[in-house]
Structures are given as C-alpha cells and as structure tokens.
C-alpha cells in the first residue's frame, strides 16, 4: 500500500482528472473481460503496461514489483489447471489452453486496475467513491492512521534491532505488536487534538485541486480503446 501510493503521488498523471484515468483503466478492464483472450487480453495487457510505463512514467521496476504478486498468484492457479497427475506422473492436460485463456484475461484485468492504482492516490479514489461523508472520513482517517502505524512500526523495529533484539523471532514480533497498539492509539488521540484545534467538526472537508477533464484527452483515450478492440478483431 505504501509503495503503490508513493508511486501514484510521484507519477506524472497524479494531477490528471480522475475521470480520465478511470475511463482509461475501466475501459481497458471492460475490454479484457469482453474480448477473446487471444489476442484481446494480450493487447489490453500491452496497452495497460504501455500507458503506465510510457504514459504515466511509472518506473519499470515499480510496475513489475506491483504486478508480480497478483501475476504469480494467477500463474500458480493456471499451472494447477494445466498439469495433471496421471498414471505416468505429471502430465499436461489435453486442452492446456482452457486454463491459459482465463489466466490471460486475469492478467490483463490486473494490469488495467493497476494502471488506476499506480496513478491515483488512495484518498482521491476514496473521495471519488461518493461514500457518505462519515464513511469517507473514516476511510481517510484509517488511511492516515495506517501510514502512522507503518511509520511507528518501522521506527520501533529499527529501535529493537539497534538494541540487538532478536529481530524476526516470534517473541520480538510479539513484543513489537504489543507495544504498537497503545502507541497507535496515543497517536490517534493526538491527531484528534490537532484536528480539533483546526475546528474539526466531524467531516474532513478539504479543497481538492483537481482540474476538469479535457475533451482532447478523453478523445485520445476513446481512440486508444477503440484501437485495442479493433486490433484484436483484426488479428483474429
């Protein structure tokens, strides 16, 4: 979560309107689900990766890092479907493509969603979900709290290791966890004081500095989506 958000905040598309990024990512997602996996999903995967790497300038290492975990999950799932344990030991199933197709689809869908996650910070997404204000504030508070918690955790881990505590042992992990909660609560209490000093009334309203969608970029996105769909039809 920290990694995704850092990338989203640092990225070139950070300031683009959410509507544009959502159209592109959700459009690609829809195509990944509708088009035949070959060549449709492959094209979607390529387009999503290209948009993230070349468009939003997500560092390739970061993109791979974020993509690797779900991809590995999908791949192991597919592998289990492709091989079978028969009389001669491990063997390919008669129709391996049956398993490869949904895997391709899933990979393409993952890349499409990743495009949104890597270009849009979580608080912006939360705001856009139009949750009831209390829920949205809660979600945002949790988000901030989580960062605080991670910071505290890192600092405490470092302190424990600096004192040669058995890092990694279950006992030291337990000590760490036991110490973390009261600190996190104390921190939340102080955050409450800090917000109250600025007249916090229950809703965390702020002025978002988001620009309006541009017709030209929207058109470009539509063209890209059409090109992916057209390309898939043509290749087939």
């Amino acid at each position: 979560m920290t990694a995704l958000d850092r990338i989203a905040h640092a990225g070139r598309w950070r300031r683009l309107p959410l509507a544009e990024k959502a159209l592109l990512a959700l459009g690609l997602l829809a195509l990944a689900l509708i088009l035949p996996p070959w060549p449709g999903a492959v094209l979607v995967l390529a387009a999503a990766a290209l948009a993230a790497l070349a468009g939003a300038r997500v560092p390739p290492g970061a993109w791979l890092g974020a993509f690797a975990a779900p991809a590995a999950f999908i791949a192991t799932g597919a592998l289990a479907l492709v091989v079978t344990w028969g009389e001669d030991g491990l063997a390919l199933v008669a129709e391996p493509l049956v398993a490869v197709r949904p895997a391709l689809r899933a990979l393409a869908a993952t890349a499409a969603l990743l495009l949104l996650a890597l270009t849009t910070p979580a608080p912006v997404l939360v705001k856009a979900l139009r949750l009831p204000p209390e829920l949205a504030d809660l979600a945002l508070a949790l988000y901030r709290f989580l960062f605080g918690l991670l910071d505290t955790l890192r600092a405490m881990q470092a302190a424990q290791q600096a004192r040669l505590g058995g890092a990694g042992s279950i006992r030291s992990a337990g000590l760490l966890a036991a110490a973390l909660l009261p600190r996190a609560l104390e921190r939340a209490r102080r955050l409450e004081i800090g917000l109250a000093a600025r007249l916090h009334t229950g809703t965390l309203d702020t002025l978002a500095a988001e620009p309006a969608p541009s017709p030209r970029r929207l058109a470009a996105i539509a063209i890209l989506l059409a090109a992916v769909a057209g390309g898939a039809a043509w290749l087939q």
């Binding site: 910071d151 004081i193 000093a197 702020t206 002025l207 500095a209």
Partner: protein
C-alpha cells in the same frame, strides 16, 4: 499599552492516573507579545498549551480570553479556537490530507470561508511560508522540517489572534529554525500574539519579548528575558543553564566592559562585538 489578551488563573490539572501536571499556575500573555515558556521535560508545558486552547479543562482555576473565562460548551470552545490556534510539536499529529494544499485548506473551510476565499488564503499562506512548491505533495512523504512548516501553515491560514506553538524549533537544523523564526517574526509584526514552549534558553533569550519559567507545576517567574534568565537559582530549579550570550553580557558588566546602563547583548553578533571590545580593552591595558 500592552493589554493582556490571554490569561491563566490558578490552573490545576492532573492526568487520569494521578500525575499532577499543573498546580496553581498563573500566566498572563500580553497582546502582540512573543512569550516563551521554558521548563524541563515533563514540566507541563504541553499540558499548559492544551489548556490555553481549550482542549483540556482544568480541575481548578480558569483560562480567560480578553477577560472572559472559557465556558467549555461546544460552541464556546469553537469560538475560542477561532481566535487561539495551536501547532503541535509533532507535525504528524496534525497532517492528514492527501496533499499539502488540501491539508492547509482544512482550517479555513472549517472557519466557514467560501471555497474561493479559502483557496486564496491557502495560496497566500503557502507563499508566505515559502512552501508553495510543496502544494501538491503528500504531507506524509515530506521531510520533518517541511512537515513542520506545513503544520504551521495549517494554523496560520486560520489567521488566529493568538498562536500557540509547542516546541516550534525542536528537531530543526539551524537554517530551518531561522526560517521558521522569520515566518513567526512576520506574524508578530502583523499583530499575532505568539506563545511558544521550548527547551532552548538561547532562543528564548534572543527572540522572545517575555519568558515564563516553569517551577513545580506553576510559573515560577515571568518577565523580561534578561531578568528571568539571569536568576541562576530559578534556572537551576528548571534544569536550565543561563544563555551564553546573557552570561557573557553579565560578565562584561561585572568586569566594567559594559556600563550598568548599557543594554545587554541579545544576539550572537552583539556578544561577539562585546567580546572584541573586551579584548581590545585588555590589549590597551597590557
């Protein structure tokens, strides 16, 4: 005339669990003044600030703004905090929004300003504090010094009459501290009353108009820095040492380098000049 704007009378407070933090504390803050609150760790400085902005309610005594005691109803506390701002020691305890701009807009919006007006306030504040370039950055990914500035901006954008600052320079390097003091100087020049806590006797001596020294849960002495900080005994009780610049000035006075009516040095430069005067006098004698 320096009228009192904010006052604490006979404040007593003990945290749940029994730690007595304040016991019969009196303090008067004059309008437009820069008041330093000095005291050792655990003296109750932060606790005092939390009383001065209405967060904590004293078990005895009262806090007064322009002579009116705080009523501690919801609306009374809100009205109080419109006029009395607070910047916590840890910027992380205050920053919450996705970007610096959004975070600083929180206070002005809560004041009820229209969005356009709030936006103008935020832009002005960010420019004044030289952090306009950080506007779109997420606060939690900034350096400590940058976070401190953003936290200050969040309070400054509300344009309070009194600004309470908990250890504003703690954790900052020399340049960062200078920058922050320059910002506070401009606020003071514009009429904002500043109350800040610190362990830094040199800062209190060189920069504050008045100093209040904690002693056992109350203010032991309050007054001009060169008076309060020249008293070795109350300094020792507060676990503090005399500011070097002041110690030099007093020594120079005792040695006759400085006349009894000459003003004491207040800055490093003053002290250096005084030192050079002493050395050249010594050379003449030799």
């Amino acid at each position: 005339m320096a009228a009192v704007i904010l006052e604490a009378r006979g404040l007593a407070y003990a945290y749940p669990g029994g730690v007595a933090a304040l016991s019969g504390l009196d303090l008067a803050v004059k309008r437009g003044q820069r008041l330093a609150i000095l005291g050792p760790t655990g003296a109750g400085k932060t606790t005092l600030l939390l009383h001065l902005n209405g967060t904590l309610k004293p078990s005895a005594g009262s806090v007064l703004l322009d002579g009116d005691a705080c009523a501690y109803s919801r609306s009374a506390v809100r009205a109080w905090r419109r006029r009395v701002g607070l910047v916590l020691q840890e910027p992380d305890d205050q920053l919450f929004a996705a970007t610096v701009f959004e975070d600083v807009s929180f206070g002005p919006l809560n004041l009820g300003l229209a969005p356009a007006e709030a936006r103008a306030r935020v832009e002005r504040t960010l420019a004044d504090l030289h952090i306009a370039a950080l506007a779109e950055r997420p606060p939690h990914l900034l350096s400590f010094g940058q976070k401190k500035r953003v936290a200050l901006a969040g309070a400054v954008a509300m344009e309070p009459d009194v600004l309470l600052l908990d250890e504003p320079t703690a954790g900052l390097d020399h340049h960062g501290a200078r920058h922050l003091l320059a910002v506070l100087d401009r606020l003071a020049a514009a009429g904002t009353t500043l109350v800040f806590t610190t362990h830094d006797v040199d800062l209190a001596y060189g920069w504050a108009d008045e100093v209040a020294l904690f002693d056992g849960g109350r203010v032991g002495s309050q007054g001009k820095p060169e008076t309060v900080l020249a008293d070795a005994r109350s300094l020792a009780r507060a676990h503090l040492r005399m500011p070097l610049v002041l110690a030099l000035g007093l020594a120079a006075r005792a040695a006759g380098v400085l006349g009894a009516d000459d003003s004491l040095p207040h800055s490093h430069d003053d002290a250096l000049a005084l030192f050079e005067r002493g050395v050249s006098k010594l050379n003449r004698v030799v």
